[in-house]
């Protein structure tokens, strides 16, 4: 009985299905549960291998280390749901982080810095979105260009050197965003939770979210149904850019400085989280919850491999293998349906 009957688990998960409003609810729930099961299994195995793993302290470390990738991956989920891809998030993170550090250093007040940085991220994303929707350039190419150009812009802006955010009037308050705790929980983790809830609400409860799924499901159908598909596309890239900027703020705050090479290859981790979470690169199918689980799987794995003293060379191999495994399990589930 290896081929799971689609009916029996579906019945067992109606309660969850009712909460999850996505298209193809049952299937998606299954996929999300599968990656959740994977996460739990992974954690069980590691807790046997290392006594240091299942401690509150270590779990909080994992959450904090996962937060940046998770925040970026939430934005990536929007883009991938429209059958797009955003390769520029790492570069946006670097550029916005540098601008943020410079503004803090120039003694601007914290709220202004944060708003300006987030707005910059959204704007940069929106430009990619415009290139995709109005310019009709493939998302891969458009954001590859953005990735290259913005990395260059970051190097120009920083003159290739780190920008210190440790001075300035707001520096102390700023540091808390990356390194502080609230009720014993790292602030980045709380931020991740808040962003997750907002994104979940937008995707599953709002009209906009439906349109995101519709555009990815079939752009042609969406257009004929009266949806302004161009606007939706610009919006998802803007969201992705905005969240990349938020990740940039968190990283810069934590390190107290912005590195010109920050965020390099972060886009791949984010895409991996989305895919491991069961979202289809073809668009139209996937869940934000899956992405959260996907990001956690990658985070737990990184943490465990460190705990187990695996060399960083082997870590990359292991990570690749786990991503492949997750995707195989997921596509197997779809095939039997």
């Amino acid at each position: 009985m290896d081929t799971s009957s689609p009916a029996s688990p579906a019945n067992g998960s109606t309660a969850i299905a009712a909460r999850n409003p996505r298209p193809g609810t049952v299937l998606r729930t299954l996929a999300a549960q599968k990656s959740l099961l994977g996460l739990l299994a992974l954690m069980a195995v590691i807790s046997v291998l290392s006594p240091h793993f299942l401690t509150t302290e270590n779990l909080l470390i994992i959450l904090r280390q996962t937060s940046i990738n998770a925040i970026i991956a939430f934005g990536m989920t929007f883009v991938i749901l429209t059958a797009g891809i955003d390769l520029s998030v790492g570069s946006i993170l670097a550029l916005t982080g540098a601008v943020c550090a410079a503004l803090i250093g120039a003694n601007f007040s914290l709220p202004i810095v944060l708003i300006a940085t987030l707005a910059l991220g959204a704007l940069l994303g929106a430009v990619s979105g415009l290139i995709v929707s109005v310019g009709r350039v493939q998302p891969f190419i458009a954001t590859l260009v953005a990735m290259t150009v913005l990395r260059g812009a970051t190097l120009v802006f920083t003159a290739g050197r780190p920008i210190d955010a440790g001075e300035g009037a707001a520096a102390d308050a700023f540091w808390h965003i990356g390194g502080g705790y609230l009720f014993g929980v790292p602030v980045p983790v709380i931020l991740t939770g808040v962003v997750f809830l907002i994104c979940w609400f937008v995707l599953s409860q709002m009209r906009f979210g439906r349109y995101v799924y519709a555009v990815g499901g079939s752009e042609q159908v969406a257009r004929l149904a009266g949806i302004d598909t161009g606007r939706i596309k610009v919006a998802v890239y803007a969201i992705s850019g905005l969240l990349a900027a938020l990740a940039g703020i968190v990283l810069t705050a934590r390190l107290q400085s912005a590195q010109p090479t920050a965020g390099t290859s972060y886009e791949l981790d984010a895409i991996a989280a989305v895919v491991v979470g069961g979202t289809s690169l073809m668009g139209g199918r996937g869940t934000l919850f899956g992405t959260l689980v996907g990001a956690l799987i990658i985070g737990v794995l990184n943490n465990a491999l460190n705990l187990l003293d695996v060399s960083s060379y082997y870590q990359m191999i292991a990570k690749g293998a786990v991503i492949l495994l997750a995707v195989l399990v997921d596509s197997r589930g779809k095939a039997t349906n």
Binding site: S5, P6, A7, A10, A17, P21, P23, G24, T25, V26, L27, Q205, M206, R207, F208, R210, Y211, Y213, A214, G217, S218, Q220, V221, A222, R223, L224, A225, G226, I227, D228, G284, R285
Partner: protein
């Protein structure tokens, strides 16, 4: 009786809890055409997918080929066994040539391993000649052929696999009358060659004209098997739906209301200056041959194709139509002829598909009111008699007729004033057809104005209050209901 080439015994298929096929048996004989009929959702396609190796039957069933039991584990295996299927949707690669498509994956090779292009072209030409299709150049890209010619390429491909059993799933749906005639010639030719042909069609006229045997599926069961000659059309319909359909076109006369839609001098891609008015509670039929500009006219009125000049007025108000969104807002709904690629998001749920166009109304302030959405969708599913496990079922799992109902419901949910139905019953069986006609009457009664585009002449004559004939992008004829006849319409359509 000739030899039985393919025999199915006791074939059942269950998806989840749903039993789609229930102990079906079937025999296809050499040199005979077996018509397979049934309502949408009766299980025809599933049965054929089992025969062609896409689905596996439940344990207990048997497939015999030439009297020997076989297991058909994959489409490739079906091909090797000599079972060819021509799908409803053509499975050709438009960017490859005719010859490449015919021999895809089985290209003749030289000893060096390189493809022998000349041999391939010659073999393709030979196949096409055997189908009397010499005019199709094997070197042409398939994407440049018409649908009819593409169908011939599909058949040639099937023949090149030395298929003895050939399944055709609604092959004439996309064909013009001339192309259909050619197809029938080909079928007769295949018959005389001793092939067994399974012919699936909703067009009962074709079943009576072209088939020798007929098998009727209803709700996953075989309810009748026998000679076509032993049945009347009425009996066959009765077998299919399990009830007698007395009147195929339940037209209801109704006094026309005020002018709802006014189209003035419309010029758009494929439309060369069209003017007409349509009233509330009126069905205006659009007749015309393929390429006459009917779909183009519909798309222009809806805002999907750009207007070059002219205007469209709904309830006397001029509409700015640049995008489909403008059409939706102006109260115009368009039910597309191609529900697969334009109408519905196949992998999404019935609920989200149905609600898609009407989402602004269902989500005040941007938030989707889930309870309201469910209630509306449930209501439409009941009224339209959509056959599905529930509203979360993926649209692609539904039969053609049920998909069409979802597509229709999606458009009506926007509370339109003008509804354009483009080939609403294409690929839809008798029972669901009848339900769609009833819905048209309901829309009429609610004061909507309906533009009915159809290539099915009896349907057009049966349901329209008025018929406009289009030819080369212009209106070439207009008939009141009682003056219209097939002959008169055809005369204007070729004008």
């Amino acid at each position: 009786m000739t030899k039985v080439l393919l025999e199915l015994r006791n074939i059942s298929k269950t998806f989840g809890d749903v039993r789609v096929l229930d102990r079906v048996g079937l025999r296809a004989r050499a040199g005979r055409v077996l018509g397979l009929v049934g309502e949408n959702g009766a299980g025809k396609s599933t049965l054929m997918k089992i025969v062609s190796g896409i689905h596996r039957p439940d344990p207990g069933g048997e497939i015999l080929l030439d009297g020997a039991p076989v297991a058909i584990a994959s489409p490739r295996r079906a091909m090797d066994l000599g079972i060819g299927i021509i799908h409803q949707e053509l499975n050709l690669l438009p960017g490859l040539s005719v010859a490449e498509n015919i021999f895809l994956g089985r290209e003749p090779r030289r000893t060096s391993g390189r493809i022998d292009w000349r041999a391939m072209r010659d073999a393709a030409a030979e196949l096409l000649r055997s189908l009397k299709q010499d005019h199709i150049d094997p070197r042409l890209l398939v994407g440049r052929l018409g649908v009819g010619a593409q169908q011939m390429v599909e058949i040639a491909r099937t023949l090149s696999q030395r298929a003895e059993v050939i399944i055709m799933d609604e092959p004439t749906d996309a064909l013009t009358d001339v192309e259909t005639k050619i197809l029938f010639d080909v079928i007769r030719h295949l018959k005389s060659d001793g092939k067994a042909i399974i012919y699936i069609s909703h067009r009962l006229g074709e079943i009576f004209a072209e088939c020798d045997d007929v098998a009727v599926l209803r709700d996953g069961r075989l309810v009748h098997e026998g000679l076509v000659a032993d049945l009347t059309e009425g009996q066959l319909i009765h077998q299919m739906v399990g009830r007698a359909i007395t009147d195929q076109y339940p037209y209801e006369a109704q006094p026309a209301g005020p002018v709802r839609l006014e189209v003035r001098n419309l010029v758009a891609p494929g439309v060369a200056g069209v003017s007409f008015t349509a009233h509330a509670g009126e069905v205006v039929g659009f007749a015309g041959l393929m390429g006459a500009g009917r779909t183009e006219l519909a798309r222009a009125i809806y805002g999907a194709n750009r207007l070059r000049s002219g205007s469209v007025l709904v309830d006397g108000k001029a509409c700015r139509l640049r995008r489909p969104r403008d059409g939706v807002r102006a109260g115009i709904a368009y039910v597309t002829e191609d529900r697969k690629s334009d109408g519905l998001i196949q992998p999404h749920a019935i609920r989200t598909n149905m609600a898609l166009s009407a989402l602004p109304a269902l989500s005040p302030g941007g938030m989707v009111r889930r309870a309201g959405e469910r209630a509306v969708v449930a209501d439409y599913m009941r009224r339209f008699a959509v056959k599905a496990p529930d509203m979360e079922a993926e649209v692609r799992t539904l039969s053609g007729g049920n998909q069409q109902k979802v597509s229709l419901a999606k458009s009506l949910l926007t509370q339109p004033k003008v509804v354009i139905l483009d080939e609403p019953t294409r690929g839809v069986d008798v029972g669901a057809r009848r339900e769609i006609y009833t819905l048209i009457n309901e829309m009429k009664a609610r004061g909507m104005c309906i533009l009915l585009i159809s290539s099915d002449m009896p349907e057009l004559l049966g349901m329209s209050d008025r018929i406009l004939v289009l030819s080369r992008g212009r209106v070439t004829g207009a008939f009141a209901r009682d003056q219209a006849s097939q002959h008169a319409i055809m005369e204007r359509a070729v004008a």
